[in-house]
């Protein structure tokens, strides 16, 4: 007996019911899959972004705490500065292993050529640990005085020329995507290049760039092994006046905690939906088995054994749930692609699609769950099929 063929035929016999059940499974799969993929993408970006940043603690002016967090998490462009002496003070604090300065500059928009919200980050090539590792891996030479590296979302390629405040820079390379606008929508240059650009902007640019030589926006800190970042942050805030020390992990974990609430809600809703689907499918297959009592009895009388009869019911349920799951996954992908930007704009979160392997694993897991749903829902009806004596089945159905 070709069980899959028989199962498929049975499904086709009552197309309306089949499509309805398929749709129910599809909706739940779509919800669960899309939500999981979205949250995984946000988490991916947070993880990669933190890794790329390389800093345990970010020291910013006390008044710029909110702006700094917004810049880090959602790439909101802002400009703030403090005196370079803060760097020396931070370096003297107990628990600071290495420290490097960065300067954030908010450029004017270039509506003719680059209609992208981007900002400039100037770093110290001697002490930097954010961009330098990339330089060492990909460029194998220091960045030139008129060169920049751009984030993945800036629509330029290596070799392009880009003007900022009257000074033209050549793009030396593009960073890998991180999902965090702080990197993906930034252009990185050396601090010296930034100061020279600011000095020359008075005569060259439409708008003068008001940045004093020696000004910095943040000090990035790596801590020693014997002290945790939060303890070093406390020491920095105590020893260095008028600064705020942001622990990278805390900033990220705050976002994660907020996400956790969302995840919890999604999990609860999905669990409820899944239970409903299970019950509806179990009910449907119980009805199906009852309807086909005579048919099953005849099949048994003609030689089909109990196992084959039960397998037929299970095969129908599996096919239905697998097809529904696949449709739901495809719909989930499509919805996520369509609404992702709106969600990110509203939630102000970083986002990076998981690696192909991870995405494939998520898809497989969603499919497996759909299949399991089918098998579980058909378990009881198939048991009743096993217990059904053929003669009784034919007699009662008549």
């Amino acid at each position: 007996m070709n069980i899959p063929y028989v199962a498929l035929r049975n499904l086709r016999r009552n197309a309306a019911r089949t499509w309805l059940l398929l749709a129910i499974v599809g909706v739940v799969s779509c919800t669960l899959f899309a939500a999981t993929l979205f949250l995984r993408s946000v988490d991916n970006a947070l993880r990669l972004g933190t890794h790329r940043l390389g800093a345990d603690v970010l020291v910013v002016p006390e008044s710029a705490e909110t702006k700094a967090k917004a810049a880090l998490l959602s790439g909101e462009i802002s400009q703030f500065s403090m005196d370079r002496s803060v760097l020396d003070q931070v370096r003297r604090v107990e628990g600071v292993a290495t420290a490097t300065a960065q300067l954030f500059i908010k450029p004017t928009k270039f509506s003719c050529c680059f209609n992208v919200d981007m900002f400039l980050v100037a770093f110290d090539p001697e002490t930097d640990f954010t961009v330098r590792p990339w330089l060492e891996r990909n460029l194998s030479r220091p960045l030139g005085p008129d060169e920049i590296i751009t984030g993945r979302n800036i629509p330029v390629i290596a070799g392009d020329s880009v003007p900022f405040f009257g000074t033209t820079f050549r793009v030396a390379g593009t960073l890998e995507p991180t999902g965090m606008d702080f990197f993906d929508q930034a252009a990185f240059m050396s601090l010296e290049a930034a100061y020279r650009m600011a000095d020359a902007s008075g005569s060259r640019a439409v708008r003068r760039l008001e940045v004093a030589r020696g000004a910095i926006s943040t000090v990035l800190v790596r801590v020693t092994e014997d002290l945790t970042p939060d303890r070093v942050a406390i020491r920095i805030e105590h020893d260095v006046p008028a600064v705020k020390a942001l622990v990278s992990d805390t900033v990220i974990s705050t976002v994660r905690r907020q996400l956790a609430g969302l995840i919890h809600a999604i999990v609860v809703i999905s669990a409820v939906l899944w239970c409903i689907v299970l019950l509806v499918m179990a009910f449907a297959f119980t009805m199906i088995v009852n309807e086909r009592r005579r048919e099953i009895g005849l099949l048994r009388a003609m030689g089909a054994n109990r196992r084959q009869a039960a397998a037929m019911v299970l095969a129908e349920a599996s096919m239905l749930s697998a097809a529904g799951g696949a449709a739901g996954i495809a719909l989930g992908f499509a919805l996520l692609l369509g609404f992702k930007d709106l969600l990110l704009l509203h939630l102000r979160l970083p986002y990076l699609f998981p690696a192909p392997g991870q995405a494939a694993l998520l898809t497989a897991a969603a499919l497996a769950l759909s299949l399991l749903t089918g098998l579980l829902s058909a378990a009881l009806p198939s048991l009743s099929v096993i217990r059904m004596p053929p003669y009784e089945a034919i007699r009662r159905a008549g």
Partner: protein, 339 residues
């Protein structure tokens, strides 16, 4: 001879009846002011010379913040129901004429005793138990929510450091010479012994008599610490299994050498010693309609006096306690021995 015999019999009889105390009480002659922090967000003021129970709601208390409870919000990292959004005072210490009060929402308020000026709450930790001045002049706030001891600079009004010690720490005391510190963990019933040079835990003192702890204090002999083991909860925050007691630890051997078992209505939370070392002042909860200041002979452990810290004032003002199941709960004490 007959008169001498009669007189002697009279003295013996009176002494037996407790009406004639042959020796002056250790608690006599105290001079100072005790500030006792409570969940109501205010500190009760007790004049130690008169030992008059505070009864004037304006003159006999210092209002710091709104009310709160220590068993709401986070305790030892675990979530409990939040009745109020923080508040409630719990422990305080005096530095330079100012009371520094650690609150149940992890903030610190500085109160100038002379002028009555109060600072804004300064965010430091999550939920404070005791506040103690350390050997370095900084104030050590023990956190019941995250188990850290926060080191706070009272001059710069800034946090200096954060020491991760336990899960719900409540008190700290140092040996003479500051080679070791002892930190009590409320919910775990553990006293951590810390090597003060390295700030590392070198021993954990556990005992069946310590299930729920509060403040910890170095005794006047500088050789023992007194641990306030009120034991309101049993192991794992379960039902009570032990009587309230003060557990005495020998700091030379780091072992328990004595247990001063207290009456059921003396749930000890803080112990401080008079300058002459003869009197132990115990801040205790009754879990009835009052909390009390108990004066105990430090040598004999005899309770000599009990002073109402809450009820006398509440009754006079017609106040009904609405939190903590209607019982006014106090915790830490700060004592100004100069006035």
């Amino acid at each position: 001879m007959r008169n001498v015999k009669t007189g002697f019999a009279l003295v013996v009889g009176l002494a037996a009846a407790g009406l004639l105390d042959p020796l002056p009480a250790a608690a006599d002659g105290l001079k100072g002011t005790a500030y006792i922090a409570g969940h109501g967000g205010h500190l009760a003021i007790v004049n130690l010379a008169t030992l008059r129970a505070p009864s004037d709601v304006d003159k006999d208390r210092i209002v710091i913040t709104e009310a709160g409870s220590e068993m709401e919000g986070k305790v030892a990292g675990m979530d409990f129901e939040e009745v109020k959004k923080g508040g409630g005072s719990h422990g305080s210490t005096i530095v330079g004429g100012k009371l520094f009060v650690g609150l149940l929402n992890g903030t610190v308020v500085a109160y100038d005793i002379k002028t009555g000026k109060k600072s804004k709450p300064m965010p430091v930790g999550k939920k404070f138990c005791d506040a103690t001045v350390g050997p370095d002049g900084n104030i050590y706030f023990e956190d019941m929510a995250d188990g850290n001891v926060y080191v706070w600079d009272p001059k710069g009004m800034k946090t200096v450091d954060k020491l991760p010690i336990g899960k719900a720490v409540c008190g700290i005391a140092w040996t003479k010479g500051s080679d070791k510190a002892y930190v009590s963990d409320m919910a775990q019933g553990i006293v951590f012994v810390i090597d003060w040079k390295t700030k590392k835990t070198v021993k954990e003192i556990k005992d069946a008599s310590m299930t729920f702890l509060h403040q910890i204090r170095m005794a006047p002999d500088q050789k023992h610490v007194w641990v306030s083991a009120a034991n309101e909860y049993g192991p794992g925050l379960g039902a009570r299994t032990q009587k309230p007691q003060i557990v005495v630890i020998d700091t030379t051997t780091d072992t328990i050498v004595d247990r001063i078992v207290l009456p059921d209505d003396v749930n000890v939370h803080d112990v401080k010693f008079s300058p002459d070392g003869k009197t132990a002042l115990v801040a205790a909860r009754t879990y009835g309609d009052d909390s009390i200041l108990v004066l105990m002979n430090a040598a004999s452990h005899k309770i000599e006096k009990k002073v109402s810290a809450c009820a006398a004032c509440h009754k006079a003002a017609g106040v009904t306690v609405s939190i903590d199941k209607g019982s006014p709960l106090l915790c830490g004490m700060a004592i100004d021995w100069k006035k």
